[in-house]
């Protein structure tokens, strides 16, 4: 079992350096696949995550309940 040790990675880069590290480097920018946009963008995830179940569960469910006939 390992004892407490100083972090194995070097000290994390400070924020600006990290931003530079994650920004694409000098290589030509390739077109981002559509699905990758969803992976990169939590806001798109929020939007789709609200709309899809709202349609298939909530709205469809209400339509079902509203079409229950009266008892004879």
């Amino acid at each position: 079992m390992s004892e407490a040790q100083p972090p194995q990675e070097g000290p994390a880069p400070t924020a600006p350096a990290q931003a530079a590290a994650t920004a694409t480097s000098g290589e030509p920018k390739q077109p981002t696949a559509l699905i990758q946009m969803l992976y990169d963008d939590v806001f798109l995830m929020l939007l789709l995550g609200l709309i899809v179940p709202l349609v298939f569960y909530t709205i469809w469910g209400f339509l079902e309940l509203m079409s229950v006939p009266l008892s004879s």
């Binding site: 994650t22 480097s25 990758q36 229950v68 006939p69 009266l70 008892s71 004879s72």
Partner: protein
């Protein structure tokens, strides 16, 4: 590239391991098989959640149910109306709809069915939500006030079956027990 650092630039292009691909493929096949099983069961098998429902009111449902009980209450050997623990025992004739009332805290009437004979039972509640739990057959349905749920039941064996309530409905919820009798 750990879960606490942003992914490296090439993360989207990283090829998926053979092992992961196999597992995802196998899992996907299993998922589709389970979906197909449900669809197939709905089409061909004999146990499915009932599909027939109507809107009603407790007053209206009680009126029809009491009418049914009066018309179909069984008679004992001496010809007087048959009760079990004060609850009317009622036969469900072939081709006619039966009624089952759920109320805090009783199931009424005691229905009498025949083994192998389908019986359409219309169920509703007069007050709170209740849980129809037929034991030991272990079939469970949600019973709502304002909704009539029509289940076609075909008993597979004769005997006495209990109806427990398994939706909390107040302080005597655990004393809410009914019965269905199945004759040969």
């Amino acid at each position: 590239m750990s879960v606490f650092r942003p992914p490296d630039d090439w993360w989207y292009k990283t090829p998926v391991d053979f092992e992961e691909k196999v597992w995802i493929g196998v899992a996907l096949v299993w998922c589709l098989a389970m979906f197909a099983a449900m669809v197939g069961w709905a089409v061909w098998a004999k146990q499915n959640p009932p599909k027939e429902s109507y809107r009603t009111t407790p007053k209206e449902f009680a009126r029809k149910a009491v009418e049914f009980i009066r018309a179909r209450q069984a008679k004992d050997a001496k010809g007087s109306p048959l009760f079990e623990k004060g609850i009317p025992v009622v036969d469900v004739p072939q081709g006619e709809d039966g009624y089952l009332i759920a109320k805090a805290w009783a199931w009424e009437p005691v229905l009498r069915l025949k083994k192998g004979q389908p019986a359409r039972i219309r169920m509703s509640s007069l007050d709170f939500q209740h849980g129809f739990s037929l034991q030991p057959a272990n079939l469970n349905l949600q019973i709502l006030p304002g909704y009539e749920y029509v289940a076609t039941l075909t008993p597979t064996s004769a005997g006495e079956f209990l109806i427990l309530c398994n939706e909390f409905c107040g302080k005597d919820h655990h004393k809410m027990v009914g019965k269905i009798i199945v004759t040969e």
